[in-house]
Amino acid sequence: MSADLPELDPVIHAQARLRVVSALSTLREADRIAFPRLQDILRMTAGNLSVHLRKLEDAGYVEVTKTHQGRTPTTLVRLTGRGRVAFEDYTAALHALLNGTANLQEEL
């Protein structure tokens, strides 16, 4: 029963980053969420979230912008088009895996 698993995107296939990408995927295409808000929703420490955002940024999946809202500096995060596609592919692969396993069990 060691059927080869379809390749799952290693960037997203880690619990913390999957949570980040899932949360970001609910935003509309060009919307950006404030870093502290994202941190609050995900209940991650700022340092931890930064580390994962950096990895996602390196893969071109998220875009981190530093800007000002009035006088307060803000960091905004957005899922890029590429990130969105990667997330959809990842989800599709999961469904394929799940159906594959179900079919295998039916055959057994």
């Binding site: 919307d31 808000r37 929703i41 999961l94």
Partner: protein, 211 residues
């Protein structure tokens, strides 16, 4: 969860899908402004404001509760202003969290309300003195409710929100019925069905939020 666990993949595909669904629901819930905060202040303002209106300017110019004739409008406008400040505050908080097309859309929609009501108020304050008091009251109240109904319908169309759309439609229908029945009754009908409708719509939208 420490950084080491973070790098671990979810146990299996089903677990991954559950995690995705959970995270998306949480995020949607946390980023959507509480519909009760958006609708209940207005519902209460209408219920109380138009209720006071009815008590002072009843059908056939009956006065159920004696009070100065400027008081009902003052109470109504005061409560509506409070409701406007509350929704403005909720909207501004939401736009500080997420910026981009969504928050621009919200800001434009909010601004539309102000512009529409100011336009109406400027026009009516010039002509309502020419009408007998009951008719002037009906003109103000009827137009205000018609505008609110139409703007809620537009909001429903904008966000593909059926509850908001049905609320706007109900308010519009209730308004027409009230206007046809006449001054006095209009205030009562709008207080109960319009104000009550907003309280109910706020509750339904809240119950329907992802949990």
């Amino acid at each position: 969860m420490d950084a080491r666990d973070d790098e671990l993949p979810p146990a299996d595909p089903a677990e991954s899908l559950r995690l995705i669904a959970r995270e998306r629901a949480t995020t949607a819930r946390r980023l959507t402004p509480d519909p009760r905060l958006l609708l209940w202040p207005w519902g209460l303002a209408w219920l109380i404001g138009f209720g006071v209106f009815f008590l002072r300017f009843g059908p056939d110019e009956r006065v159920y509760v004696d009070m100065p004739d400027y008081l009902p409008l003052t109470v109504l406008l005061g409560l509506i202003t409070l409701a406007g400040i509350t929704t403005g505050f909720v909207g501004a908080r939401a736009s500080r969290q997420v910026s981009g097309p969504s928050s621009r859309q919200g800001a434009m929609y909010g601004f539309t309300w102000s512009v529409a009501f100011i336009g109406m108020a400027v026009l009516f304050s010039r002509i309502s003195d020419l009408l007998p008091v009951p008719d002037a009251n009906l003109l103000w109240a009827g137009a205000m409710v018609a505008l609110t109904g139409a703007l809620h319908m537009a909001g429903g169309a904008l966000w593909n929100d059926r509850v908001l759309y049905v609320l706007g439609l109900s308010i519009s229908v209730v308004n027409v019925v009230g206007v046809i029945i006449g001054p006095g009754w209009h205030a009562l009908i709008v207080a109960v069905f319009g104000g009550g409708g907003m309280l109910v719509a706020g509750l339904i939208s809240w119950l329907r939020m992802p949990r």
